[in-house]
């Protein structure tokens, strides 16, 4: 038996890779506008070099780290994950990245560190969505994970996809990828990672706490108030076949992550 397990897709037809063209032109990245096509049209303006990330909070080894020092190329791994958006569509994307757990371990969290808080860049002159007078998001976009979720081996910091650098609209140069949670948890263009003792409030939770929770685990049994989460549309689809498939608990990663939530009422902590 080989040391590496080949991934056998459950459904070879639907679980094939989403074309790069689709994954890089159909994005939610409200810093560049609320339309799905806005990010790919406007994100060219974003300067991603140089880039550094502040690691602070409950850590012994914090500070500002240049992207090149944070991500050592020899450690890059390719991970093919399903991406399930809270809007009930999904894709299959090959990411390049390193486990977030490595980065956090290097920062040496103190005993008080219980959660990780992430922040996206604020630069309205390059991110037109942040200039909108009607935006309800209080920039910067923020996200959070429980420390054990952040340390989980499936959680990665992505720097590329499809074997190349991340396009700006997909969160260049550094983004989070948490495959068992709705896509909005996987925060883009990260400039700050803070280890904190209190549960952070994420941007979507701040706008609509009845619709978006802190955990945002993919869960077919807990509906979004405005639509069902029992099924999803695997993209790309067509008018003749909307590719509607059943959504799986924890986006199909239950074997790996369900133990993180033992004893929790996932209806209340959604």
């Amino acid at each position: 038996r080989a040391k590496w397990d080949a991934v056998v897709p459950q459904d070879p037809e639907l679980d094939k890779l989403t074309p790069y063209q689709d994954a890089s032109t159909y994005n939610n990245f409200y810093e560049f506008g609320t339309g799905k096509g806005d990010p790919s049209k406007r994100a060219d303006s974003l300067t991603t070099q140089p880039w550094s990330v502040v690691i602070d909070g409950e850590v012994d080894n914090g500070g500002r780290v240049a992207l090149e020092d944070l991500i050592t190329p020899s450690r890059l791994e390719e991970r093919i994950y399903r991406l399930r958006c809270v809007e009930a569509w999904s894709m299959v994307i090959p990411w390049l990245g390193i486990p977030l757990g490595d980065v956090i371990a290097r920062a040496k969290p103190t005993a008080k560190a219980k959660y990780v808080r992430f922040e996206t860049l604020v630069r309205p002159q390059e991110m037109p969505g942040q200039d909108s007078a009607f935006a309800l998001i209080d920039w910067p976009y923020t996200e959070g994970l429980r420390l054990d979720e952040a340390m989980h081996p499936l959680t990665i910091l992505g720097v590329g996809m499809y074997g190349r650098e991340l396009p700006n609209q997909n969160g260049a140069p550094l983004r989070l990828v948490v495959p068992w949670k709705y896509g909005f948890k996987s925060i883009k263009s990260i400039v700050r990672i803070s280890l904190v003792s209190e549960q952070p409030v994420n941007s979507w939770q701040a706008i609509a706490p009845d619709e978006y929770g802190f955990y945002a685990n993919v869960n077919p049994q807990v509906d979004h108030p405005r639509w069902s989460q029992a099924t999803e549309r695997r993209l790309p689809n067509s008018l003749f076949n909307p590719h509607i498939i059943d959504t799986r608990m924890f986006n199909g990663y239950a074997d790996q992550v369900a133990s993180l939530y033992t004893g929790m009422d996932l209806r209340k902590q959604f």
């Binding site: 989403t18 074309p19 689709d22 032109t25 159909y26 409200y30 506008g33 609320t34 799905k36 096509g37 569509w89 894709m91 969505g129 909108s132 007078a133 009607f134 935006a135 309800l136 998001i137 706008i207 609509a208 619709e211 108030p225 405005r226 639509w227 069902s228 099924t231 549309r233 993209l235 790309p236 689809n237 067509s238 008018l239 909307p242 509607i244």
Partner: protein
């Protein structure tokens, strides 16, 4: 100012073509594979917004008629009203076909559970009620009640905007524009404002007659 009959016919045909054009354009984009990885949702959202445009166009006819006294505007009211209904039905069909995958049991459960869908369905019912009574026979049969029934259009406008409001969540820019247009069209119907419209026309006429 009398407009020849042939010009009015041409005008009605032109309005028909203009109202049809967006549907053809969006279908063409889908056929070209230029509508993105989720063409059903592309049609759903565009036709939804198109329904509001059609409603705005319909509601602009009365103020335009008052302002210009041209009878061409009144002449296309039924047509644009029916176009609004057609867009709304197409919008619902897109939802049933491309979002629910024609799972009709789910359509039933979604309609009773989701407030924004309830609101959208109520708006559609209002449009249907006006659509089926838009013929001359119904006008005769309903008499005075016909006018009252067709005041439903104001309720439909409010419900349509509420339905749209519930869909957007992070940026109200586009919605605010639609709401402002809707509010503007209602404002033009307030009696003190509505009375000014014909006067405005007189004024323009006088100024033209006395140059300098």
């Amino acid at each position: 100012m009398a407009t020849p009959r042939s010009t009015l016919t041409l005008w009605r045909v032109a309005v028909f073509c203009i109202a049809l054009a967006p549907l053809l354009y969006w279908s063409y984009q889908v056929a070209l594979n230029a509508a993105g990885p989720e063409p059903g949702r592309y049609l759903l959202l565009n036709i939804g917004q198109g329904t509001l445009w059609m409603l705005f166009a319909t509601l602009s006819l009365t103020p335009l008629g008052k302002l210009t006294r041209w009878k061409g505007f009144a002449l296309i009211r039924r047509q644009l009203g029916l176009w609004t209904l057609a867009y709304a039905v197409a919008h619902l069909l897109c939802y049933a076909l491309f979002i629910l995958g024609l799972d009709l049991s789910r359509l039933g459960s979604e309609i009773v559970r989701r407030p924004y869908i309830i609101v959208g369905m109520l708006a559609l019912l209002g449009l249907v009620a006006m659509g089926v009574t838009s013929n001359r026979a119904s006008m005769r049969r309903l008499g005075k009640r016909w006018k009252t029934l067709h005041k439903l259009v104001y309720l439909v406008l409010a419900l349509g905007l509420l339905h749209f409001f519930w869909v957007v969540r992070a940026d109200l820019g586009e919605w605010s524009l639609y709401a402002a247009i809707g509010a503007g069209l209602m404002l033009l119907r307030l009696p003190p404002v509505a009375r000014q419209l014909p006067r405005l026309r007189q004024q323009v006429k006088r100024e033209r007659r006395q140059p300098g």
